[in-house]
Amino acid sequence: MMRAVMYLMAALSVMGLAFWAYQENYATQQAIKDVRRLHAQIGDAHERLGMLRAEWAYLNRPDRLIDLAEINFDRLGLLPLGPEAFGNIESIVYPLPDILPITDPIDIRSVTPGGGEDPL
């Protein structure tokens, strides 16, 4: 009796393992397919990226930027960077202190004779 149960269990486990191996096999093949598709996508993206980089570099080539700066000089006023562009820390003014809040406002209108418009 015990032996029969053992045989049954063994047979069941073999079937179970076979089923598991079958599934793993298909899952692996699916994963390989996914990886291949992703590689292709990454390849395309790389190609596009390379193209965009090349285009960016081409549009930002110094010759073109110099020409653009000259054409748009009226609007932008760009000049080559010179030594005079470096500022001195002493030449920056200290921030002006905030105006103190007015605690006892005086109504000027009542003082103005004739009640005319405030000249300020």
Binding site: H39, G50, A57, D63, G82, P83
Partner: protein, 594 residues
Amino acid sequence: MIRTPLRPLARILKARERGEDPGAIAAENLRLRHEAIADKSRARAEGRLLVLGAFFAVAFLTIGLRMGTIANSAPEEPRTAATGNPIIGQRADIVDRNGRILATNLETHSLYAQPQHMIDPLRAASELKAIFPELDEERLIKDFTGKRKFVWIRRQLSPEQMQQVHDIGSPALLFGPREMRLYPNGPIASHILGGASYGREDVASAEVIGVAGIERNFDSLLRDPANEGKPLQLSLDLSVQAATEEVLDGGMKLLNAKGAASVLMDIHTGEIIAMASLPDFDPNNRPQVLLTGDQSDSPLFNRAVQGVYELGSTFKIFAVAQAMELGLLNPDTMIDTKGPLTWGRFRIRDSHYLPPSMSATDIIVESSNVGTGRIAMQIGGERQRAFLTSLGLAEATPVELSEAPSGAPLLPKNWSEISTMTISFGHGISDSPLHLAAAYSSLLNGGTRVLPTLLKSDTVQQGARVVRPEVSARARSMLRQVVTRGTASMGDVEGYRVGGKTGTADKPKENGGGYYDDKVIATFASVFPADDPKYVLIVTLDEPSENSGDKPRRTAGWTAVPVAAEMIRRVAPLLGLRPQIEVSDVASVTLTSN
């Protein structure tokens, strides 16, 4: 199995009654039993052998079949082994020190034809000619109507041209994918980058190979798939290079020069930040190599590396620095400068009137040939040669360009006394501007040898000591005085404490026989800031002449110096150097007094 007892008393007794020998019966029984046991074990062993044999047969069969299938099937890339990136197989990019692209790849197409599928060869040829005017129509017709089965038409097409060829509608015109090398900045840094071309070609792909410059020098590295497309980072700075070329081009045209070269080098690391040679070319469309005439007239010629010239008075500082290093003089030592200095039939004189006796500093400041010649005589030829070799002026530069070995210096065959004298003021020895930049860096950075490099490096080179740090500081102080009160007065740039030495050398005639009177190489070798040296800049103009005055001025002080000053004014802020107001020269006073 029921065991029969061998000697049961009852059976023995029965056998004795029948007159039989019970011992013999027992022995017979034993024999029969042993035989049965032997039969059984033989059968089992035979069964086992059979199973084992079957197992081996199956195993060998499996391996054999697998080998057969592997041998017969087409090779396939392993899909699951995920080591490395299988996608990036292109030639690597080249970028500048800030990562801006100097060379990259672009997907494009090549055009080829299979004439046997051609329906109307004449129309196809004329349509192609209309799209690509440089094609030879006769030749195309000959190719299309002849026996050829395959004709290359163009190596690269733009997308617009590809569409136009599609519109011809001929089934025999086919496209193959191509990778093309693109230099987006055009002629900027063209001599350094060199250029690329196709190696082995196929319909499906083509090999891109470097043909000159850094592309050729690092060809195998750029093509190595193990790098996974990691870009090659150079020491160049694109903005600085562009500004340098702009200023140099302007200066060359203004001063009517035939050519010009400049080298800007980091004095401590030896990195070349910008290196220009004019006239230049577009590496996207590299011109043909000259087959006849002087190669140095070709735009492909890199004057900064390949062009070896007599660089004139810029060499004087080497003689004076060596004399200071040897303890022969200090900056205030008075030297006899009475001219002319005669040696055999040679006479050395100065280009303008100078007092009969001058201090070593004044010899540099006023650029006295006679004084430097006398100092060189004190040093002697052997020691002079060893010193110039230690500065790298006697062999080709080790810079990473395929052209570098062709820029080997020209040295006198016999280093005689007269050679020693003339070499001290830069005649009789020919070096490239890059040599001069490396030598000035080595001398002025504190006195350790610097090798020029085009690759970005963050570490200061720990080269062999050439001169003591005090000598280096004194040499810088002398060069600073050349700019403040000497021959390079136009070279001062406010805030950057430029120091430098001019050099005007007559050009030797090509077919020997002396020097031209009206053709010079004007050079300004400078260092900035002189008190805390960071960069060395060499500017060389080939046959300049400044024609604003009554007669043309050709000396470096009027030609190379203003160009270099404008270059420093433009480039120093780009390098992040703040202009500083010069404090009085206290440091150099203490130095010169000891």
